[in-house]
Symmetry: C2
Subunit: 320 residues, 2 copies
Amino acid sequence: MANIPLRQIRAVIAVCEEGSFTRAAQRENATQSGISQHVAAVERTLKVKLFERTTGGITPTPAGLRYYKRCVEAVGTLEHAAEEARSFAGEVTGDLRIGLMPTFTRAVLAPVLDDFVPRCPEVRLHIVEGYSALLTEMVLDDLLDFAVVPAFEGTIGLKSRMLVRDREMMISGPRAGFTPLAPLRLAECPPLKIVVPGPDNIRRRNLETYFQAHGVEIAAMLEMDAMIATLEFVARSNWVTILPSVISVNDIGRGELIVNPIADPELHAEFVVVQPTRRTLSTQARLFLQRFEAEVAHIHQVWNRAIAPVRPGNLRAANS
Amino acid sequence: MANIPLRQIRAVIAVCEEGSFTRAAQRENATQSGISQHVAAVERTLKVKLFERTTGGITPTPAGLRYYKRCVEAVGTLEHAAEEARSFAGEVTGDLRIGLMPTFTRAVLAPVLDDFVPRCPEVRLHIVEGYSALLTEMVLDDLLDFAVVPAFEGTIGLKSRMLVRDREMMISGPRAGFTPLAPLRLAECPPLKIVVPGPDNIRRRNLETYFQAHGVEIAAMLEMDAMIATLEFVARSNWVTILPSVISVNDIGRGELIVNPIADPELHAEFVVVQPTRRTLSTQARLFLQRFEAEVAHIHQVWNRAIAPVRPGNLRAANS
DNA sequence: TTCGGCCATTAGATTTTCTAATAGCCCGGT
DNA sequence: ACCGGGCTATTAGAAAATCTAATGGCCGAA
C-alpha cells in the first residue's frame, strides 16, 4: 500500500490546478525542481503517469485527474478534521476572510455580525466588499476563504454551492412614477431608462436575457458598478435599476426609493459560495454562513409580508 | 490551516487503535519516543489535546476520537486514490490476502477463482482458510486484507459490511433417515444427535439460541471444528449437522449426504466482510468481492430451484 | 521499598527535503 | 538557420526533519 507523504500530494494538487510545475512552485513557495521531484516520486510510487508533459506546461492524464480529485477530497477531510478537533475542544479561533458584494453588505451583513461577533469573539474577521470578478479572483489567489457571488459555471480550482436564490426588484425614485410595492410586469412598462451593472457582471447577462426574452423595451441604458451612486442617481432622476430584494429590504415604506417586485414572470438571482478547491470551509466559516442564510431567509419573510398577493388578471404596469 | 504530515497522522491513528504509544510504535515499526513526538507535534499544531495520558496507556479525548475518525476517512480516501489511479491507468496489480471459512472454500471459492484469475492475472492471491476467530485476528494484525466471517458486533480497529445472508440446512447421512430436500421443522424431529461448531464460533451461539427458542430437542451434541471430518462422520452415522446452504450446494441430489432446508421458521446465517479500519479495500479486493457475491447469489438460485415449494399445512418432519 | 510499564524529553545520527545550477527540449520570432 | 524564452528533468550539496538511543519521571502492583 502506497505511503505517499502529504507534501507530495499537495504538490500534485497544485500542479493540477496551476497547469504547470513552475506556477505550482510559486504557489507552494517551493522551487520548480522541488515540485518536479515530488510529482516524479508520486508517479514512481504509484507506477502511474499522472501528467503528460508538454512544452507549454503539463496536462493531467485521466488517471491523474482521478487521483487529483480523490486527493483534494482527502485533504479537505484532513482540514475538516483539524477544524472539528478544535471545535470539539471548545474553541473557534482563527481568521475568517470573506468576500461580499454590495448586494449583501448593505442590508444582510450588519445583522449577521450583530449575532456572529459575540458568539465567536476569538475569530478575526476580514471582510472585503467588491464585485464578483474581483472577489472570485481573490478566492482563487487564496486571499479570501470564501466569497458570495452570482452563480456561474465554475472554474478549475474553485468549488461552489448554492447559497441564496433571491427575487429581483425594480428600484426607482418618485419621479419615475411607480406605485410602491406593486408587482410590475416589465413588458408593459413604458420604455425604461435603466442603470445596469458592467459587462463583467453575471447579473448583467441575466438581465439582458430577461429583457430580450420578455419584450422589455429599454429607452436608455447606463452602466454603473457603484452601488451608492446608483441608488443616489435613481432617487433623484426618472431612471430605474434592478437589484436583489435583500439589498433593498430597508427601503420598504421609505419615501426616497420605490421598490416594486418584478412579476409575470418573476426574475431571480442566484448566488453561490465559492472557495478554493483545495480548502474545506473552517468551522467559523460554516458558522458565519449558517447565520448568513438565516438572515437572508428572514429578509425573504419580511418581503413576503410586504408584497400584496397578486391574483391572475390583477397585474398591471403600476404607473398606467 | 494546519499542515500536518501524513506520518504524524498515521501515528495518531495507530495510537488510537492500539491504546498505547508503545504498542503503536511496534505496529508502525517505530520507537515509542518517535510516536510520542509525532503525537505531541499534532497536538501542538492543532492546539488541541488528543489523548489523556495514564499510567496504563492513553485514552483518546472526545476531540481525539473525532480527529481519529476523520483521519481514518482521509487516509482511506488516499488509499482509494492510489488504487483508482492504478485502475484508471489500466492495471490491477498487487497482493490480495483473503480469509475464508470452510463454509465458503468448499463450494463458493473455486467458481469465483475460475473467473477472477484470468481477469486479474497480475494480482497475487493469498487465501487463508480458517475459522472466524482466527481470521478476524489475522485481519486485526494486518495479515489479511479482509475476511468473510459470521456477522458480529464489531470491534475497534475493524470495520465490516454485510456480504451474505444464507439459509441454514440440516445435513445428514442415509442412516439418519431424512427425505432429501424436504423442508424440516426441527421441533418436530425426534431428538437429534448433532455436530456443532466450538463455543468460539458465533454460529454456535445462534444455533443454540434457535434450539432453545423453538423447542428443538437435542439427544446428544458433539463439538467439531473440522469441516471435512464433520461431513465424513455425518455421512457414515445417524448424526446430523447444520450448515449454510452455500457449503452444500454440491451435495444436492448426491446419495451420500442428505440436505434438508430448515423451515418454520427458517434459520439464516449472516456473514460480513471485515477489514482494518485504517484500510480501504483495494481495487482487486472489490473486484473479488463483487464476483464472490455474484457466485453466492447464483448458488441461492440453484437452491431455490431445488427446494420444493412449501404450502401451509403441508410441512412435516420428513422421516415420520 | 522495589520493580515493571508507561510516557516525556534530549542529543545526536540518519534520512529526507529543498534549492541552486545546469541540461535538454520545444516553439515562436527574427 | 539561429536565438531567446519558457518549460521540465536531473544532479549535487546544504538545510531541515525524522528517527533512535538513552534517560528521567510517574504510577501501580507486589
